[in-house]
């Protein structure tokens, strides 16, 4: 899934290794998310959202438009 993790991390002045250390994952995990090779689990996505203080959909970009609800 496309994401803005690299931009947010750079704005926060963190290296991939720094962010990995904060989250308790390997630097390769952060790199894989940033390069769109791996979609993180929901708990990891939530932790990323808490670290950067932004909602998950500001980090991960999804262009899916939901259909209208039957009662909507």
């Amino acid at each position: 899934m496309k994401n803005r993790l690299r931009v947010l991390r750079a704005e926060a002045g963190l290296s991939q290794g720094d962010l990995a250390g904060l989250l308790g994952v390997s630097r390769q995990t952060i790199n894989a998310v940033e390069t769109d090779k791996y979609d993180p689990s929901l708990p990891l996505a939530m932790r990323l959202s808490k670290i950067f203080g932004v909602p998950i959909d500001v980090i991960f970009l999804d262009d899916w438009i939901p259909p209208e609800l039957p009662n909507g």
Binding site: S15, Q16, G17, D18, A20, G21, G24, V25, S26, R27, Q28, T29, N31, A32, T35, K37, Y38, P40, S41, L44
Partner: protein, 212 residues
């Protein structure tokens, strides 16, 4: 001027080639190849796989013996990568798992080669069962302490190799049933399944960027 990373890799490849040549020459001199050629093909195959696992395991255990050594030896290490005691312990345990896998692959052909039959074979089997139980326990520990990217790559490799092996086994079994292919021994199948799992694991790890 070549990229320093590429230059370093080329230098290491050249050193590896010279060391490999010397080791190969030495192995020939002490009669290792004559010793190997007296074994059945399937045993040569499993011994070769065990050799690869032995080298990978030794590399992992030595590299992860200290953070300074790991920084120098690990190709994918970048300054600032998390490298505390628990990371090094995880890497060492992974290395020990590979070393034990090598021993488990080597033991049965060697036992046959050295004529350990009857009661001696029972003792070898009992020893292997204990070693296998220990290896499975360590493997589970590695799985539990891995981060989610490694766990995802392991799960992917397991699923892909299961389907590949199931498909291959079915195809081979059909051909053998129809008399179009030879029957193969369980040891050959086990060696093939190990090789396929190793290849699929490496491909899964590369696809997920684990060597980056």
């Amino acid at each position: 001027m070549a990229d320093p990373g590429i230059r370093r890799r080329l230098v290491r490849a050249a050193i590896g080639a010279v060391v490999g040549l010397a080791l190969g020459f030495g192995a020939g001199e002490i009669g290792l190849f004559d010793w190997l050629s007296a074994m059945p093909g399937e045993d040569i195959g499993s011994t070769a796989v065990a050799g690869v696992l032995l080298l990978l395991g030794l590399f992992a255990v030595i590299a992860a013996s200290s953070s300074a050594l790991y920084r120098r030896m690990a190709e994918n290490y970048r300054e600032g990568d998390p490298l505390d005691g628990s990371v090094l312990r995880y890497l060492r345990t992974s290395g020990v798992v590979m070393l034990l896998a090598a021993v488990l692959l080597l033991a049965p052909p060697l036992a046959v080669r050295y004529g350990l039959t009857g009661d001696a074979a029972i003792a070898v089997a009992a020893g292997m069962a204990a070693l296998l139980a220990f290896q499975v326990w360590l493997n589970l520990r590695v799985m539990r302490t891995s981060d989610e990217l490694s766990r995802a790559a392991m799960a992917e490799a397991s699923v892909a190799s299961f389907w590949l092996l199931q498909l291959g086994l079915f195809g081979w079994a059909v051909l053998a049933k129809l008399g179009l292919a030879a029957n193969v021994s369980l040891w050959t199948l086990m060696t093939l399944s190990t090789v396929i799992y190793l290849i699929v694991s490496i491909v899964a790890a590369i696809r997920r960027g684990m060597f980056a």
